[in-house]
């Protein structure tokens, strides 16, 4: 540390003290540090931070995204409270989320438990469950559009065979949102399974053996030993799936376009309509900020409840 070599170029040797060395290191580190992060800081600043502030400003304006906007104060937010279409989109989003998240989490838990064993053909089963994860939302929606086609779709053909009348699915206002749930559960189940299977790896076999020695059946051990140990994975999944459910858009755009009669108009689809069909950039930004706030609040509540729930397990 204290040995300081002469600078190149034969400059006169001077006794170096520690502060000057430290300063040189500090300078070179500052330079290197900023050189390494400056492209990132620039890009994230421009496409991450600036738009967040800009959107906040927009939410207090009338703005058609082409001509300069005019200041309207809180009018956009006040309008939201009395907009039946917005209220409807909030209701649809909540209903969707409340069905989608539990179905996905419980389904993923059971499938992961079933897949977490060594039997023949497991590679095939895993592929079958995981492939939907890499299937795009647009492709998923297109496939289900065909599968659930009221006239020629496979599902109605199968239903007819067992004596059930054809269903409207995406074209029936009472079934459209449930059809969306079915389709998105297909797309997201594998993700949950992957998360749970990774978490199951860390459940120690000793604990299960101990439970078995105490006379615990395999089924009880699963619910009393494994499921509580999976609490962190469950909490993560619930939060992650909720965030994604609240932002549902692609599948709606491809299948129902928010219909029939607004039964699948979710918040982000309504935002999209306001911004890019009615050119109400300000109003759409207000919707975006309400969504942002809702996601923050819901996540905070889930975290708080989750921590209390998994109390005592780290």
């Amino acid at each position: 540390m204290t040995t300081v070599t002469a600078p190149p170029g034969g400059a006169p040797l001077q006794p170096r003290t520690r502060p000057s060395l430290l300063r040189r290191v500090w300078w070179s580190d500052s330079l290197a540090g900023w050189a390494f992060i400056s492209p990132t800081v620039l890009l994230i600043g421009l496409f991450g931070l600036v738009p967040v502030v800009w959107a906040f400003v927009l939410s207090f304006q009338h703005n058609d995204l082409i001509s300069p906007g005019s200041w309207v104060g809180l009018q956009n937010y006040r309008k939201l409270l009395n907009d039946p279409q917005f209220t409807n989109s909030v209701r649809n989003t909540i209903v969707y989320t409340l069905i989608f998240v539990p179905v996905c989490v419980i389904g993923a838990l059971l499938v992961a438990a079933a897949l977490n064993r060594r039997i023949r053909g497991m590679a095939f089963y895993r592929v079958a469950v995981f492939i939907p994860v890499v299937t795009s939302t647009v492709a998923t929606a297109t496939m289900f559009g065909w599968l659930l086609d009221p006239d020629y779709g496979l599902v109605n053909v199968a239903l007819n065979k067992v004596g059930i009348a054809s269903q409207g699915f995406f074209r029936d206002p009472h079934e459209a949102l449930l059809s969306i749930v079915l389709m998105t559960v297909w797309g997201w189940l594998g993700f949950g399974v992957i998360i749970y299977m990774a978490a199951l790896q860390s459940v120690s076999a000793d604990l299960l053996e101990a439970a078995a020695m105490d006379g615990c059946t395999r089924w009880r051990a699963f619910w009393r030993v494994e499921v509580p140990l999976l609490a962190p994975a469950t909490l993560f999944l619930v939060i992650w799936l909720t965030i994604n459910a609240l932002q549902l858009f692609d599948e709606i755009f491809v299948t129902t376009k928010g219909g029939p009669v607004g039964s699948t108009t979710v918040v982000v689809y309504y935002l999209y309509m306001q911004a890019f069909q009615y050119f109400n950039g300000g109003y759409a930004s207000a919707i975006a900020y309400v969504l942002f706030l809702a996601i923050l609040v819901v996540t905070a509540i889930q975290l708080a409840v989750g921590r209390r729930f998994s109390h005592g397990q780290r």
């Binding site: 290197a32 079933a114 795009s136 492709a139 990774a198 978490a199 994975a233 999209y272």
Partner: protein, 288 residues
């Protein structure tokens, strides 16, 4: 029990007994229907994609008599499908490459280098992670428009060159990496960049693979942003193109399924080839 040592089991019995114990695990009765259910949409797409329109609508549904390869050719000639494929390949390649470089450089700096402003910069970075994309959608569109990039592949590339998530992920990797090797090299007089290139790059294989896969999947599947940023059919990406194709061929299910199948084939092939890495990447995106 007591007869067992006296009368040995017949070979057939032994064979049957072993089979009974080994093969039909009761779990198959659960897993087989489940995986068939999960595969139904994909298999049904595959069958429809090679059927004639009449066969696709026949009752009850059956396998096509001969494979209609012409469906794929019709998609290819009837839409700018080749453009969509090339555009998606260009955008995902450039974005993945730049993310690998920029995220690892920034992640290293945030984890290891002590410099003024790093704490603040990192905190702001984390803040952007929480913001849903819909919030920044409209201003980002206006920014891209001011660069003259609307309806241009650049609109899909520039805002995605680096992701806060990628920086965070790489930082976590460096934080968990023991610093001994780097310190030794630093004492020997290596520069920060030298340490990074010569010592750390060879160690970064697994996290970079994860970052590449997650970035690739998110770009390949991105829909909302291309939808608002691109208008011309020949500038579209695969997902956006597929959705316009779907809009134009509402009931032409054979062509639609042929297009959907072709649009998913590259990702599905990649997934089957590197299933282990894909699954690990998706799992680690969640857990860390």
């Amino acid at each position: 029990m007591s007869a067992a040592p006296l009368v040995g089991p017949l070979p057939e019995e032994d064979f049957a007994g072993r089979r009974a114990r080994r093969w039909p695990s009761p779990w198959h009765f659960l897993l087989m229907p489940l995986s068939l259910l999960m595969l139904t949409p994909l298999v049904w797409m595959l069958i429809t994609a090679v059927s004639t329109p009449d066969e696709a609508r026949q009752f009850p549904p059956a396998l096509p008599k001969s494979i209609q390869w012409s469906n794929f050719a019709d998609v290819w000639t009837g839409s700018p499908f080749g453009h969509w494929l090339i555009n998606t390949a260009i955008v995902s390649t450039v974005v993945v490459m730049s993310n690998l470089v920029l995220c690892s450089l920034a992640g290293y700096a945030f984890a290891r280098v002590r410099f003024r402003g790093s704490g603040l910069a990192f905190m702001l970075l984390l803040t952007t992670l929480m913001v849903p994309f819909q919030v920044v959608l409209i201003p980002t569109l206006l920014i891209v428009k001011s660069f003259g990039l609307i309806d241009h592949l650049g609109a899909l590339i520039v805002p995605n060159l680096v992701t806060a998530f990628g920086v965070f992920m790489m930082r976590q990797f460096f934080v968990a990496l023991p610093p001994d090797l780097e310190e030794a090299a630093r004492i020997d007089g290596a520069s920060r960049l030298g340490v990074f290139l010569k010592i750390l790059v060879p160690l970064m294989g697994p996290p970079l693979a994860t970052l590449a896969i997650l970035t690739f999947l998110s770009i390949w599947n991105d829909f909302l942003w291309p939808l608002v940023a691109i208008q011309s059919p020949e500038n579209m990406t695969m997902q956006l193109g597929l959705s316009t194709f779907q809009g134009a061929h509402q009931t032409d299910w054979t062509l639609l399924m042929a297009a959907t199948l072709m649009s998913q084939l590259p990702v599905i092939v990649l997934f089957l080839a590197g299933q282990r890495v894909f699954v690990r990447s998706i799992a680690s995106s969640g857990i860390k």
